[in-house]
């Protein structure tokens, strides 16, 4: 228990301590410090090559509900970009606009330079998409599920079997490939869906809540496979999640979304540093307990783990790095209160995750 909690201060920027160590292999480079760097040079390439995804004033409404309300973002080639936000923030709707599932006016969404409104087929050929629900066909085997997507992406017959086998191997399902998908566990179905998405060699992998409802071990496993594949192929990953800790660990950059709008965008370190700076500024300008300064909610005292966690230690709040969740509370402002149930869920899930490993 204690070793996990000592790991939490490892979230401090610059102190890539023991808390990071289990995930250091996410990048091909052996050194743990380089694990945040996107696969290609972030600035050199962006001038000439088009962004993986560009959204300009993206809007989508279901009747009166403005699910996505003016989103501007660009995902750079090769990075893992996280779209974060509580349930109902509009993440899925944004993803569905980018995948061409929901039609948007021309000029709002581009994928590697192709307009999602005018060049649907070209966009779809570049995409691997895993929707929020578990979507493998239960009446088919794992191999047949993947082979279907090889067929609909025009993989020629002579290379189909080999390609399907590689996709299944990439997610560690070689042994289970002949079994019906209805015998798979939730984590296995997620990995199978990953294989379905990978078989067409997409340049952009779009994952909508890939770890929702999975147990901690399965969550880690799904992320490990995503990272291993990304390291091997250099593909861009756009992922949505409401697990802030996952985004912190695995995403190069994140956008915090709330009520259909992006409230903050940057690397997790940048966002936390910015919040620290804001807090410092607020402290120098006003007494430490200034109203309006978001104070982290103390976790229930029943859990001994929370006693030493940085977010629950007010005495250290001056120099302790805030978590992404703190950043989110800060930028989301007042409207977050009615959503607080989500965050409690995230907290408890995170605690479980730390307990199990």
């Amino acid at each position: 228990m204690t070793s996990d909690d000592e790991g939490r201060p490892g979230r401090l920027p610059g102190a890539a301590g023991p808390g990071r160590a289990p995930f250091a292999h996410r990048a091909p480079a052996p050194d743990a410090t380089a694990h945040r760097a996107p696969a290609p040079a972030p600035d050199a390439g962006s001038a000439s090559a088009p962004d993986a995804v560009t959204c300009r004033g993206l809007r989508y409404a279901f009747g009166e509900t403005r699910a996505v309300d003016g989103v501007d973002l660009s995902v750079r080639p090769g990075e893992v970009f996280g779209l974060l936000g509580p349930n109902g923030a509009g993440k899925t709707t944004a993803i569905r606009c980018i995948t061409t599932l929901l039609s948007v006016p021309a000029g709002m969404v581009r994928v590697f330079g192709h307009d999602a409104a005018k060049e649907r087929m070209a966009v779809r050929r570049l995409l691997g998409y895993v929707p929020q629900q578990l979507s493998a066909d239960a009446g088919l085997t794992g191999r047949e599920n993947v082979a279907l997507f090889a067929r609909v992406f025009d993989v020629p017959r002579r290379e189909r079997a080999a390609r399907v086998a590689q996709a299944l191997a990439a997610v560690g399902l070689t042994d289970a490939a002949g079994r019906l998908a209805n015998t798979y566990s939730g984590g296995m179905v997620r990995r199978l869906e990953l294989a379905q998405a990978l078989v067409s060699a997409p340049r952009l992998l779009m994952l909508d809540e890939p770890t929702i409802g999975l147990d901690p071990i399965a969550r880690t496993s799904v992320w490990e496979h995503i990272n291993a594949v990304r390291a091997a192929t250099g593909m861009t990953v756009l992922v949505t999640t409401h697990y802030m800790d996952e985004a912190d660990q695995y995403c190069d950059r994140v956008a915090l979304m709330h009520h259909g709008r992006i409230r903050a965008l940057g690397t997790p370190d940048e966002l936390r540093a910015a919040l620290s700076a804001r807090r410092r500024a607020a402290r120098t300008a006003a007494p430490p307990t200034a109203p309006g300064t978001p104070t982290p909610t103390p976790a229930p005292a029943a859990s001994p783990a929370s006693a030493v966690s940085p977010s629950a230690a007010p005495s250290r709040s001056s120099d302790a790095a805030p978590t992404l969740e703190d950043v989110f509370r800060d930028v989301a402002g007042s409207g977050l209160d009615e959503q607080s149930g989500d965050f409690r869920d995230v907290r408890s899930t995170r605690r479980t995750a730390h307990r199990v490993g």
């Binding site: 070793s3 066909d137 088919l140 085997t141 993989v155 990439a170 291993a228 594949v229 192929t233």
Partner: protein
């Protein structure tokens, strides 16, 4: 808890070994030329249908019960009564093509429910993000319905033959029978998928499906010749594609007088229209 940090490492060994053989996953497959997309998607959907049938044949057996009962009870009885003027052919012979068409239609009508189920399960969503035009996806689904109906038709034909129905074994005629079954099923599955695109929920579609299948069946020449129907029913029967399918099957299997050219023209047009209608309504399901 001391072993906790080690767990991710052991898990990572798996993808690490797999990562060495990812070379094919780096190269996107070449897109097929425009005209090849439609047949390729139809084949893909039909393969899936056959794979599913191979894993679970219960539906094949349960769906064989109803046509068997129709032939055995209704067919045998009315053959004896001789109440229906069939122009010399024994009634059970007259009935067999009608029952083939009926069982194919029942299978096809189920496809609307299936597509809603696939929408809810995310399967359809994912297919809609592949380079598959909506019309090609619907065509694929409708021909998959045709393949399933065809297997059902084989079961009914064998059963009818066992009951002593004298049918043709001419391979060319049987091929034409297969085409008629597939076209008819394509139309009825598209009808059902179109309604699915309008009503959007499984419960509503289930009710509508039940409400329309029997009238479609009775308002056709499947059970009795058009000539014995009242005038208004004859009109309904004339716009019912099932009548044309039954007419073609009867002509091909029994060698009775049929309007084969008209039948196949109507069936082809109906299937094409159905695919267009269902494809244009598919967007509502995707939303």
């Amino acid at each position: 808890m001391s072993e906790a940090p080690a767990a991710p490492h052991t898990a990572s060994a798996e993808p690490a070994t797999g990562a060495g053989r990812l070379d094919l996953l780096l190269v996107p497959p070449r897109a097929r030329a425009g005209w090849q997309v439609l047949p390729a998607r139809v084949v893909a959907m039909c393969v899936v249908e056959l794979q599913k049938l191979r894993h679970d044949r219960t539906e094949l057996y349960t769906r064989a019960v109803q046509p068997a009962l129709w032939l055995l009870i209704f067919g045998e009885t009315f053959t004896r009564i001789k109440a229906i003027p069939t122009g010399g052919t024994p009634y059970i012979d007259f009935l067999a093509p009608g029952i083939i068409a009926q069982s194919a239609m029942f299978i096809a009508i189920f496809y609307g429910i299936m597509i809603i189920w696939e929408r809810d399960a995310g399967i359809l969503t994912k297919l809609l993000v592949t380079p598959t035009p909506r019309a090609a996806l619907i065509a694929g689904k409708s021909f998959a319905a045709g393949v399933k109906a065809l297997i059902q038709a084989v079961v009914v034909i064998v059963f009818a033959a066992l009951l002593g129905v004298a049918m043709t074994w001419n391979p060319l005629r049987l091929l034409a029978v297969a085409v008629a079954v597939v076209l008819g099923s394509a139309f009825f599955s598209c009808l059902s998928m179109s309604i699915a695109g309008i009503v959007l929920t499984r419960d509503r579609l289930m009710g509508i499906g039940q409400a329309i299948t029997m009238p479609l069946f009775f308002a056709s020449n499947a059970l009795y010749p058009v000539s014995v129907m009242p005038g208004w029913l004859q009109t309904v029967s004339k716009i019912n594609p099932l009548s044309y399918q039954v007419d073609a099957l009867r002509g091909l299997l029994l060698g009775t007088h049929a309007h084969l050219a008209l039948d196949f023209t109507v069936l082809t047009a109906a299937a094409a229209l159905g695919i267009a209608a269902a494809a244009s309504l598919l967007g509502r399901l995707a939303r």
